[in-house]
Symmetry: C2
Subunit: 322 residues, 2 copies
C-alpha cells in the first residue's frame, strides 16, 4: 500500500457510557479528526440507539473517504466482552441482558466491530498514544463514578478465559468493610476509591467534624470536586478524606503490583483532578505494602491523554491492535 493511502486510513472509536456516547474518527497517529456524541440513555432499545448512532456517523464515514478507508470500529462499553462482542448485564446501560453489540454494529455499518470494556479501551489508548507508550507491562486504573481497570502484560491486554479480566474495582481491599451500593459486596476498592466512594467518606467525616468546611455545602453537592475545593482551602477533614481514600487505593495497588509487576500504574478519570491530595497517600501506602523486591520500582502516574478524547482514542486503538 502506498504511504499516501496509509495516511488516509482511519478507524471509528466509540465510547459508550451510561449517559452519553462519544464517537470520533481517528487516524494512525492518534489524532481525533472529528468527533460527536449522542445520548445513551434516551434509547430503551439497543437497535434504536444504533440507528440514531448511524445517522450521526454515516456522514463522517462518507467525509473521510467511505468504507474503503475505515479499518473498523472499536467500542469501549461497560461489561463489554472482547471474545463475544457482547455487553453483558451492564448495570449502567439501559439495555438489559446479553446484548450482541458487535454483531448488531457489523450488520448496520458493514465494518468490522470490536468490543471491550471501557477501561480496557482506555489502557490501549494509553499504550498507543499516551503515557504508556513503549510499555509492555502496566495497569490502568480509571477513577470515575466507578473504578475500572485495564491490565497489559507482555504487551497485550489481559482478557482472561472469558473476556472479563480486569475488574479490579471489585476486588476486596477491606474484608467486611463498606457495603457497595450496587453489588452488595463488602469492602471493595470501588466502594472507597471511586468518586461515589469519596462522597460517602466525605459525608461521614463531615458529620463527625462540624468545623469542617465540607459542612458549608448541601448534601447533594458533596463530591470529589467540592472535597478538592475544601482541601485546597486547607480544610484538614477534606485532606483526610483524600488521605483515607489514597490509603485504600494504595493498599489495593500494592496487591496488583505483586500480581503482574507492572512498569507503571496509570490513574485516569475525574478523581485524579485532586492531584497530590490523592497521589501522595496512594504512593505511600502502595510502597508500604509491597514485598521488598517491588519497592521504588513502579511509576505511579496520571494519564496524559485529554480526558474528552481518551475514550475515543482507546476504542479506536482496538482496531489497530486486533
Amino acid at each position: 500500500m502506498p504511504l499516501s493511502d496509509l495516511s488516509k486510513r482511519v478507524a471509528l472509536g466509540i465510547d459508550i457510557g451510561g449517559t452519553n456516547t462519544k464517537f470520533g474518527v481517528v487516524n494512525h497517529r492518534g489524532e481525533v479528526l472529528e468527533k460527536g456524541k449522542i445520548r445513551t440513555d434516551e434509547y430503551d432499545k439497543v437497535e434504536d440507539f444504533i440507528n440514531a448512532l448511524s445517522e450521526k456517523v454515516n456522514p463522517l464515514i462518507e467525509k473521510y473517504g467511505g468504507h474503503k478507508n475505515f479499518d473498523g470500529i472499536g467500542v469501549g462499553m461497560p461489561n463489554g466482552n472482547y471474545y463475544k462482542g457482547t455487553a453483558e448485564n451492564a448495570p449502567n446501560l439501559p439495555w438489559k441482558g446479553i446484548i450482541p453489540f458487535a454483531d448488531l454494529m457489523n450488520a448496520k455499518f458493514d465494518l468490522h466491530c470490536i468490543v471491550t470494556n471501557d477501561a480496557n479501551a482506555a489502557a490501549l489508548g494509553e499504550m498507543l498514544f499516551g503515557a504508556a507508550r513503549g510499555m509492555k507491562n502496566f495497569i490502568m486504573i480509571t477513577l470515575g463514578t466507578g473504578v475500572g481497570s485495564g491490565i497489559i502484560t507482555n504487551g497485550s491486554l489481559v482478557y482472561g478465559h472469558d473476556g472479563f479480566a480486569g475488574e479490579l474495582g471489585h476486588t476486596i481491599v477491606k474484608p467486611g468493610g463498606r457495603k457497595h451500593w450496587s453489588t452488595g459486596s463488602e469492602g471493595s476498592l470501588e466502594s472507597y476509591a471511586s468518586a461515589t466512594g469519596i462522597a460517602i467518606t466525605a459525608k461521614k467525616m463531615r458529620a463527625e467534624f462540624p468545623q469542617s468546611l465540607l459542612n458549608l455545602y448541601p448534601e447533594s453537592e458533596i463530591n470529589s470536586k467540592t472535597v478538592h475545593e475544601c482541601a485546597l482551602k486547607g480544610d484538614p477533614i477534606a485532606i483526610e478524606v483524600f488521605r483515607y481514600t489514597g490509603q485504600k487505593l494504595g493498599e489495593a495497588l500494592a496487591n496488583f503490583v505483586m500480581f503482574s509487576s507492572p512498569e507503571a500504574i496509570l490513574l485516569f478519570g475525574g478523581v485524579i483532578k485532586s492531584g497530590d491530595f490523592i497521589l501522595k497517600p496512594t504512593k505511600l501506602h502502595m510502597e508500604r505494602n509491597l514485598f521488598p523486591i517491588f519497592r521504588n520500582k513502579v511509576k505511579l502516574v496520571f494519564s496524559e491523554l485529554d480526558e474528552a478524547d481518551a475514550a475515543i482514542l482507546g476504542a479506536s486503538a482496538l482496531v489497530w491492535e486486533k
Copy 2:
C-alpha cells in the same frame, strides 16, 4: 529432524529448594527418565554447589547421549528471575545477594540455562504435563512452607516488567492482620495459608480450646499434617483451623480471579493433603467474594502431578517453552 532424533531429545530440570535440590532428565512427553538430588544447604558458595551438581549430573548427560541431545537446562529456584537469569536475595537460599545463576550454569555445563522462580516452573509443568493441559489462562498457587504462585495469561507466564511477577503469597488479604515472621508485612496470604501459617493458627486455637485433640501434641509437632490427623478424627477445632485458613485463601483467590479471570486455579503443595477440609471453605469464600459475572465459572482443583516429579517437570518445561 527425523522423528527418531526428536524422541531422543531431552532437557535437564532442576528444582532448587532451601534444603534440597532435585534434578532429572525429562523428555518431550513429560517423562522423568532419571532423577537425583543433592543438598542445597551444604554449600556456602554457589560455585561449590554447582561443582557438586555437575559431578552428579554429568554422568546423566553422558548416559542420555551427551550435549547434542540436550535442549537445555531449566531451573526453578526461590526469587529466580527469568529475564536476568539471577536469583536475587532469596531468604531461603544459602547464597546472599544477586547470584548470576544462569551464567554460572552456562559456563559449567555448556548448555543454555533458563531460570525462573519455583512456582512459575510448577505452573509451566502443569500447563504442559498436568491438570492445566490445554489451558491458556490459569493460576497456580503453591501451598507449602510458604505460598508461591505462577500466573498464565494468553498461554504465557506473566513475568511482568522486571521478571518478578506473581508473588501472590505476599498480597495482603487482611490489612493490619497477622505479622509475617520474615517480611514483617501485616496480613499477607502467606501468613495464613502456608503450612507455617496453619501451624500458627492451630497453636492459637488450641490454646483457646483445651478440649481440642490438638493439645495432645507437643508444640513442635503442630503442623498441617497433625492438624489434618485431628480433623480426620472429628476434632472441631482442627476443622476450624482449615475453615479459617480456607476463608482467607478463598478471599484472596476471589481477588486474583477478578484480576486475570482464569479458567482454573490449581492448588499444589503439602497443604492440599488436607483435601476437602481446606478445599470446601476455600471455594465457598472465593465464590462469595466474586463479582457476579465471575461466579461458578472458575475451576478450583488440586494439582495432578506427582509432587516429587512436578518441580523437575516444571523446570524442564522452561526449556521447551523458551
